[in-house]
Symmetry: C2
Subunit: 135 residues, 2 copies
């Protein structure tokens, strides 16, 4: 399941997508409109900024805004960044791979099935962007 943090991230990003090209948006505005705890949102936005998804401007008239066009930001990227692995097992994860202990991947039925699940999921989240979230 996606954590609260991930859900907040998507809400905030949706909001910033709608406000794309309208200049910086205050954290407090996003927090209020999307009903996200202010300080918690601060952390999330900062993390998204460090990952290169958002950018910010300090001082009066400052705030956060999308660094890239909404259709350039894949949903999968955001999930991996804020929530972690998309796959159901470490041994089938593309970005967070870890070998199974005591289990031969070559002939593990669970492994094979989870590869299928992973691919079916990626098929969707790798091909959707922030733009799709607000349409």
């Amino acid at each position: 399941m996606l954590s609260m943090k991930s859900q907040y991230a998507f809400k905030a990003l949706s909001y910033l997508t709608l406000k794309f090209n309208e200049g910086p948006v205050l954290i407090s505005e996003i927090a209020k409109k999307k009903k996200i705890p202010l300080k918690f949102l601060e952390n999330i936005l900062l993390e998204l900024k460090k990952a290169g998804i958002l950018d910010s401007k300090k001082g009066k008239g400052g705030g956060y805004f999308l660094k890239q066009r909404p259709e350039k930001v894949k949903v999968a990227t955001v999930i991996r960044l804020i929530n972690g692995p998309i796959a159901m097992l470490p041994c089938v994860s593309l970005y967070f791979y870890e070998r199974c202990k005591n289990c031969d991947e070559k002939k593990c039925g669970l492994h094979d099935m989870m590869v299928e699940v992973r691919d079916a999921t990626l098929q969707i989240v790798e091909n959707r962007t922030l733009k799709d979230l607000v349409m």
Copy 2:
């Protein structure tokens, strides 16, 4: 991600599937063969029994065994039991549904996408059984 507990559950169930119709299997045998901490495995098997997937026999010659035929036990059932929801959001879960707060399901882009992910996943795990894990 599936928890260790879930992975242990699948390992144990695979083993019991191979030993199907050979009578009760000792917890200690499963623990040893599958390298699962004994006491932890105890809890897991008990949970699977309470859910009607396994049955057990006490005393000498006792142990655990599958209550139903391996092809009758869906992977999805085991995941839901030991790991919890399969969906990525509470508001798209079929068995663990919870309403989103401050988010209209009718027009939430994330919601719609997660319904797709859920269905793609269920397509797989609802149609695979313990038997498929050992083939």
